[in-house]
Each structure stands twice: as structure tokens, then as C-alpha cells.
């Protein structure tokens, strides 16, 4: 049980951290970051590495974003 919770939280925390890495306006004080942990946490897989070639969706998934901004690694499984 612990493994399940810690595993999901760890990956989700990483995903959320990556999602909010880029500096943007902080006017959204009514957005609950802690609750974003729950979004599809089991599948969250965004992670930031020197390879970064993708963009993190708010569901915590990293998808290729050629020509656009990048904040995560789409190679998946390497981090």
C-alpha cells in the first residue's frame, strides 16, 4: 500500500513540478496545486532531463512538441 501511494505521489509531484517550471503569471491563486496531484496520477510520467524534447500536459503526460517550448523528456522510461 505504501509503495502504491508513495510511487504515485512521487511521480505526480515530479509531473506537477515540471508542468509549472516555466514562469508564468501567478494570478491563478484559486487553482489548487495539491489537488492537481490526483489528475491521472497513475499515468503521470513527465520528467525533466537534459534531453527535454516534449511539453507536459496538465494531466502529467509528456508529449513531443516540435518547434515549441519543451519542459520534459518524451523518451519515457529513462527517468
Amino acid at each position: 500500500m505504501k509503495k502504491k501511494i508513495y510511487g504515485a505521489l512521487g511521480v505526480a509531484a515530479l509531473a506537477i513540478a515540471v508542468f509549472f517550471t516555466t514562469k508564468t503569471s501567478s494570478s491563478a491563486s484559486d487553482i489548487s496545486l495539491s489537488n492537481m496531484f490526483k489528475i491521472n496520477a497513475a499515468n503521470a510520467e513527465c520528467c525533466s532531463t537534459p534531453i527535454n524534447n516534449g511539453r507536459c500536459s496538465f494531466t502529467g503526460n509528456c508529449f513531443g512538441n516540435p518547434g515549441g517550448p519543451v519542459d520534459c523528456d518524451t523518451t519515457k522510461g529513462s527517468c
Binding site: 509503495k3 502504491k4 489548487s32 490526483k38 497513475a42 503526460n61 513531443g64 518547434g67 517550448p69
Partner: protein, 398 residues
């Protein structure tokens, strides 16, 4: 070779930049307030299936299927332990069978054709792996034509996947249909050609693609810059000849003939559904993309449609609508209320029911049985996570 790299990136960047500069579109719900309800949904039953210590509610994928003796079986993907657990749906006891899929790096979805042919989508390599009854991978079918995944130009050509259980893989005339999507705002230069549905020939393993996004909604450079907007929910018509697509941002349903590829558009909206607007580039003029907070806020505020299911026992369709959170309320994705719209076989409106919010209901894990519409229910106070639960909804006259 040296000269090729910059040219490729200039082209790619141009495509990307062009997609960020489009106008805003508001998709109006022309029938709002004018639809008459005659049916509603009511909870009549609950089912729960025990989970092991490595599995949690909201599993990434489930599938309901009939075994060789005709019994209903519920198969559930446990992404953490990399197993597919099979439960007898009627008895809802502990799993009767476990299929280890440890050989698949990132399993996100599956289809059990039979116990010796299990298709598992592997997100690591964008491939469909075919497993036999010993869990051995007997075929690896690339869904990107074995393209080098490091060269991201493939994303303009092939769909990517965010599987949901409500989007069951379809067997159609020897092919396995596994619709994907374009992920970010679709560049105007490709939207007329990009096909989002993947078809795998189950004999030859040949992969083909079909069905295009409606240009009037996703073209013109309109900014739908988050996969939650470009997601495609779908279901087949009862004759298994047409695919009905429920795009999150459209009140209409788009029906694609699997043979002729002809499209038909029918209204499939909710009586209370609000107009849906794309992102407004004026809100982030100075930036190259929409700020993440803006995207999250827009997604929370907006009504967004989701899965569509056909109920063969009652001859009705169910379409999910995730309601926008009103201004002034706390913007949290799970605070969205979930409505289920009911339509008859000809997509005539029969009614809609608000079932609760997404803290407790997970409409992406839904399916139909003879008992009714099963929607995953997660008790917000349940910290033990011992069961996978479903509330079952039955149709009642008003």
C-alpha cells in the same frame, strides 16, 4: 547534412508558430434550454471488485468482455504491477485470472481478443504488442511505421494516444481500431489531412489510418493547446459500420462511415451546455504559448464533452459532459460536475442527469452491462483503496 537540420527546424517552427496565432472561436449550443427531457438516470446498484496492494482506483484501463462461455468478465490494467486482472463481473469476487504483462514497458491500454491473443498498447515505443497465453510478445506492431521517435516530425503525421476505458478498442472486419489524437493545437497546414484513428489488420499487422478532425472546429489556427481539447471519444453504431465521435469542444457528434469515410453531423449536446470557446491568443500575446495557469483555468471553466457509449439493452446512447466551474468557485479539475446526456438510437434528446462531481465519479472508466450504465465511483474519503467501485445507473421515465 549540416544544412538540412536548420531547414527542418525552420519549417517545423513555422508550422508551430502559425498555429499559435489564430483567432478565437466560440462554439454555440444552439439548442440550449429548448430540449425536453423525458428520461433520467438513477443509481440502482453498486458493484465493487477487490484490489491488491499495488492497484489503485481509477486504473488506467478496463475492458468488459464475454468469455467463451458467455459470462461477463471485467479486465483491469494495473499499471504499477504490470498485470491485467480478470474478474467475473457477476460475482465480483477476487480476480479469477491474472495476465502478467511485465514485458511491455509502458502499458496504457489493451484488448483481449481471446486468451491467446491479447493486444497491449506500449506507449514507450508507440507500438501495439501482441501477447500469447504465456504472456510472451509474439508481435510488435509499430503505430508510427518504425519511425525514429527522436525526430519529432512524426508527430505531424501519426496520432498519439491517451487511452480511456470508455474508448474501447474496436474489432471491425478483421481490423483492430484504436483511435488516437493530435496532441496540441493542430497546425492549420495539416488539419485537413491528419487522420486520428489507427486501424491494425489483425492478420497482416499492416497499420492504416482513418478519420479527420472537423476543420471548422480544429482548423483555421484555433488554439486548443492541450490534449484534453483534442482528445477523441468514440463508439460504434449498433451495426458496427460507423464510428461516432464525441469531440470535447463540440455539441455535435461526428459520424464516420468506416467504408466510405463519409461524415455525418448530428446534434448531441446537453440542454444546459454552455457555449465553448477556444483559447484567446490575445490573452497571451506576448508569449509563444498559453501560460499553463491559463490553460488549466480555461479547462476548468469550460464545459467539455467526454465519452459516448451505446446501450444495446435499452437502445440509447449516453454522452458525458464535464460541466464548467462557475466564476467565483474554486478552480479544481475534480470539482467539475458530470452530466450524462441520454439520446435515442437516432440521437434524439431524451434527457440528462447530473450524477455528481469528478472527485467521486471517473467517467473515463465507464461501460454498459445489462444492469445499466456502470461509472467508476471513488469515495473521496476512501484512503484504503481496497476496491474498484462502480455505481450502476438505470433509465427511468420522468
Amino acid at each position: 547534412m549540416r544544412r538540412k537540420i536548420p531547414i527542418i527546424y525552420i519549417v517545423v517552427s513555422s508550422i508551430f508558430m502559425s498555429c499559435q496565432s489564430g483567432p478565437e472561436i466560440t462554439i454555440k449550443n444552439e439548442k440550449k434550454g429548448n430540449l425536453k427531457a423525458t428520461k433520467r438516470l438513477e443509481i440502482t446498484e453498486e458493484k465493487q471488485f477487490p484490489l491488491d496492494s499495488l492497484s489503485a482506483p481509477r486504473p488506467p484501463y478496463i475492458e468488459i468482455f464475454s468469455d467463451s462461455s458467455g459470462d461477463s468478465q471485467l479486465a483491469m490494467l494495473s499499471g504499477f504491477s504490470k498485470n491485467i486482472f480478470i474478474y467475473n463481473y457477476d460475482s465480483s469476487n477476487s480476480p479469477v485470472h491474472k495476465i502478467p504483462i511485465g514485458n511491455v514497458q509502458i502499458p496504457l491500454a489493451f484488448h483481449i481478443k481471446n486468451m491467446d491473443s491479447i493486444y497491449v498498447y506500449n506507449d514507450q515505443f508507440l507500438e501495439m504488442d501482441l501477447l500469447n497465453n504465456k504472456s510472451e510478445i509474439v508481435s510488435k506492431i509499430s503505430l508510427v511505421n518504425s519511425t525514429n521517435l527522436k525526430d519529432l516530425a512524426w508527430t505531424f503525421k501519426y496520432p498519439q494516444y491517451m487511452p480511456h476505458s470508455v474508448n474501447k478498442m474496436i474489432e471491425h472486419e478483421g481490423k483492430l481500431i484504436f483511435p488516437g489524437q493530435y496532441i496540441w493545437t493542430i497546425p492549420d497546414t495539416i488539419v485537413k489531412n491528419f487522420k486520428f484513428a489507427t486501424a491494425i489488420d489483425m492478420n497482416s499487422n499492416q497499420v492504416s489510418f482513418l478519420n479527420k478532425y472537423p476543420y471548422d472546429i480544429y482548423g483555421h489556427g484555433y488554439v486548443w493547446d492541450e490534449p484534453i481539447y483534442t482528445n477523441v471519444y468514440y463508439h460504434m453504431t449498433p451495426d458496427n459500420k460507423k464510428m461516432i465521435c464525441s469531440f470535447p469542444v463540440s455539441h455535435d457528434l461526428f459520424i464516420y462511415d468506416m467504408e466510405s469515410n463519409k461524415e455525418q453531423v448530428v446534434y448531441g449536446g446537453g440542454n444546459g451546455a454552455e457555449n465553448i470557446s477556444s483559447m484567446d491568443p490575445a490573452q497571451f500575446k506576448s508569449k509563444t504559448v498559453a501560460p499553463k495557469e491559463y490553460i488549466y483555468r480555461q479547462s476548468c471553466k469550460s464545459d467539455l464533452y467526454a465519452g459516448i457509449l451505446y446501450d444495446k439493452y435499452r437502445k440509447v446512447y449516453y454522452r458525458f459532459l464535464r460541466k464548467g466551474i462557475p466564476d467565483g468557485a474554486r478552480f479544481k479539475w475534480e470539482n467539475k460536475k458530470v452530466n450524462v446526456i441520454v439520446m435515442d438510437e437516432n440521437f434524439n434528446y431524451l434527457g440528462e442527469t447530473e450524477i455528481g462531481d469528478m472527485n467521486e465519479f471517473y467517467p473515463d472508466n465507464s461501460f454498459v452491462t445489462k444492469e445499466g450504465l456502470n461509472i467508476e465511483y471513488v469515495d473521496p474519503n476512501d484512503v484504503k483503496e481496497e476496491f474498484l467501485r462502480f455505481k450502476i445507473f438505470a433509465l427511468k421515465n420522468i
